[in-house]
Amino acid sequence: MTPVVAGLAAEGALAVVALLAALLPGRRRNLLAGTACAALAAAGAVTGALALAGGTGVVRIPTALPLPPLTLAPDALGGLFILVAGAVGVLASVYAIGYAHGASASRTQWAALAVFLLGLQAVPAAADLVSFLLAWELMAAASAVLVLADQARNPQARRAATWYTVMTHVSFLLVLAGFAVLAGTTGGTAFDVLATADPTSAAAGVAFALLALGFAAKAGVIPLHVWLPLAHPEAPSHASALMSGAMVKMGGYGLLLVTLRLLPGGPTWWAVALVALGAASALFGILQASVATDVKRLLAYSTTENVGLIVLALGVALLLRGHHAPGAASAALVACLLLVVSHAAFKATLFLGAGSILHGTGERNLDRLGGLVREMPWTAAAFGVACLGAAALPVTAGFVAEWTLLQALIHAVRPSDALVAVAVPVALAVIALTAGLALVTFVKAYGIAFLARPRSVGALAAHESPASMRAALLLGAGAVVALGLAPGPVAEVLAGAADVGGVEAVGLAGLSLTGVDAVLDPVALLALAALVAIPAVGLVITLGRRLPARREALGWGCGAARTSPRMQYTATSYAEPLMRIFDDALQPTRDVEVTHVAESRYMAERVRYLQRVEDVIEVRLYRPLVAAADAVADRARRVQNGSIHRYLAFSFAALVVVLLVVAT
């Protein structure tokens, strides 16, 4: 029994323990079930790390069906995703011990969390399509239960869960169909057999299109992202963290599986399609995030952006690989995996932080927050670090990932063909605009929520979270910084997982992209910064001692009134310039209602301003679809008149047709 097999077995055993713990009555359930779930996730993380380090192992589970046994045999790439899912799982489980309460601490919810964790880790471990699809469905069903946590009190949760379930099943059906096409052409179900398909054949093209769409739906790539901004805000925060930090990555894993392992060397249009999808998602996602005011909705749209960047990086890697720029191609692939890892770290931390805000203030709306840095210093610190990561500023994980992607792009050799010549500058411009808007988004999220003065009673009465939540937050923030400080070893491991070269660790833990001749050593950068900062900060402190001390006074209120917190900029007003600039893309609806004073219509008594931004894609694409489906369903109702005889007649007719089909 290899260590990997032992790890997989331990996962199974711990899943049973977690399920049992979830059934415990009373208050101890949170602690025990949470610990068991964390252990399950940790076992997964260890197993993933082993597989990533080159360990192998095969687990065969016989079934009653006339199919080959279900096979779990993680390779290095799968190991990476198991590790990511496990690490995020540990954070979420530890966090949930303190966070879960009321409906989200029920037996069902804890059991669903355990099943979700198991499913998440089984997807990248699967080595044949039947076990892959089973794990996929396990993951999808359990997460749908998690989204439904608050359904008894909150009708929004029910609506979100409906959207999520429908979209996730569309994704499942597409993936199923794609795999079916591949299995049909190769005559097997194991991935090794599927990999024998000819990637240039028409069948492979169809399979790629189906699989890419299916995985894109899971990953939250536009236009299949609509479930993300609905489901993330309604799910309990630890579940959102898991869904955004780990589950959407499985969509990314699926794309990597298809393009690297099953159908390597596909035609160029695959790469172009991925670049286009990724670029559109990144821009659309961050644009919506920059004007969002619900903090979890903001994070959900930012997930669409990050996943877009991941898909874009993968597309660029495939494009350059096909056009003889191997150095830049492998750098792009490493960037893709770095984006996966860094996004898992900072987005999980951000969702956990959002949960802490909700826990401490009862508010999710940025317009009603403010000044939390005083009452919630730990949450503020962790959320701040994660915001730096999401805005891709040094020295965090996000910065390293984006730097690698940019280096890959500018070193895409002087292109001999027009496609690369057009795709590279456009991709660069899209990434740049995305990065700029991400900066606004996260300055807004942090500045409005944590700085300035409280904008509501809830924010005024904020309190810090319990220890388990703080621990998870700090662990997450630590991961964001650690990944940013030591990109060299991390990137080496990732390059190994993707089976490419061109990456080397230099200096203390710096990253050298040998294929494109670029070096980044965050520790050395930090040392240089310290060298110039120490004299400066020393000067600041000595002067601060010798010069007069600070005095507090009222802020400037235009010389008249005292300032009230209502005079501050809110998240909505902060994003107003962007809203006006990107008016055509966002299409907000505005309503101004002026009530005049009775005596004169020149004097306004009250002005009411209402602005709403809806998802353009949801409004333009899905509403007509849903309406059409409703209309068809209405018409279909005519065949249904309540007569048992008619229903039996339908079955009878169906039976006859089936018999006829079988006979011919």
């Binding site: 500045g447 900060v537 501050q568």
Partner: protein, 322 residues
């Protein structure tokens, strides 16, 4: 590493630190020279080139007042801005186009350090809890976001002939091949960068550094609640950032005189050269600002889109030559 590379690294470090000192000394003079040029052209006597130095001395002696309800960001923000500007002065090739082996003056790193300062200033504005702070911060970040595509695409255009995004390599390459400076791609990219520098440092026509009209200001709105030495750090940090970026543009347009070896005469020549270039750039900036009016905030995207198109054309043009 061998002894030789150790000595080179140590020497490089010394030169870079000297560069920081030179730039810190130059920064207030740059601000002063800009204002003085402008004053003279407008027919005023002007306060003299040394006025910013006197301003800093005055601010340092004053008792800082902070608005009630502000957090540690109000104290730390100015220092972060100052440190990011200092780091910028160490990274960008100004006096000498040399770089440390582990910390090359990679343009993407330079841009991110610049953005770190931008973010510190924006958070400072938000922390003040007044309407103005938030307004300035919001506008500042919006402009920063829209500038980003131009910066990166212009960087890309500059990096194509060299095959690297390392600034010192770009500068030396341009010095060795002067034809590339006058090439359409080179000119377009530099023009785009100039617009970016104006936007990032809050100069006309994007922001009016001399305004105190609440509704039009961007930078001044953010620092409205900052006073005393806190304001001094913000001002020095902003001036330093202006001086460094002007110096960078100067070195891209006239890459001569930059020290490429680690000898005392070369470095001294580099100091003189960068002083001259920055002075010329500052005087030109001051002269240009006389004839410019501030754009409406919602016309700024047009300016930035225009500069983006120039940068994009630079990329296209450099492919055409290939």
């Amino acid at each position: 590493m061998t002894d030789v590379t150790w000595t080179t690294t140590a020497l490089t470090l010394v030169v870079l630190l000297a560069q920081v000192v030179v730039m810190v000394a130059l920064a207030p003079l740059v601000a002063g020279l800009t204002r003085q040029t402008r004053a003279r052209i407008e027919g005023r006597a002007g306060p003299g080139v040394l006025q910013p130095w006197r301003d800093v001395r005055k601010l340092l002696a004053k008792r800082p007042i902070r608005a009630a309800g502000t957090s540690w960001v109000t104290v730390a923000g100015p220092v972060v801005l100052l440190v990011s500007s200092l780091l910028l002065a160490a990274l960008v090739p100004l006096v000498a186009a040399v770089s440390l082996p582990l910390v090359p003056d990679d343009l993407f790193v330079v841009v991110s350090v610049l953005l770190l300062g931008t973010v510190a200033l924006a958070l400072l504005g938000l922390d003040s809890g007044s309407a103005f702070g938030g307004m300035g911060s919001s506008r500042h970040m919006t402009i920063a976001a829209l500038v980003e595509p131009t910066v990166l695409v212009a960087v890309y255009a500059l990096s194509i002939p060299v095959g690297s995004s390392t600034l010192s390599l770009i500068v030396t390459e341009r010095r060795d091949d002067p034809a590339s400076i006058a090439s359409p791609a080179g000119v377009l990219a530099v023009v785009a960068l100039v617009v970016v520098v104006l936007a990032e440092t809050g100069r006309l026509p994007v922001d009016n550094p001399a305004t105190h009209l609440e509704l039009t200001m961007v930078h001044e709105a953010m620092v409205l609640e900052t006073s005393g030495r806190d304001l001094a750090w913000v001002e020095v940090g902003s001036w330093l950032r202006l001086a460094v970026l002007l110096g960078l543009v100067g070195n891209l347009v006239l890459p001569w005189g930059v020290a490429t070896e680690l000898s005392v005469p070369a470095v001294l020549l580099g100091v003189v050269a960068i002083g001259a270039k920055v002075a010329v750039a500052a005087a030109l900036l001051g002269a240009a600002e006389v004839g410019l009016a501030k754009l409406r905030l919602f016309r700024v995207p047009e300016l930035l889109a225009g500069s983006f198109v120039l940068a994009f054309l630079a990329v296209t043009a450099s492919y055409l030559v290939a």
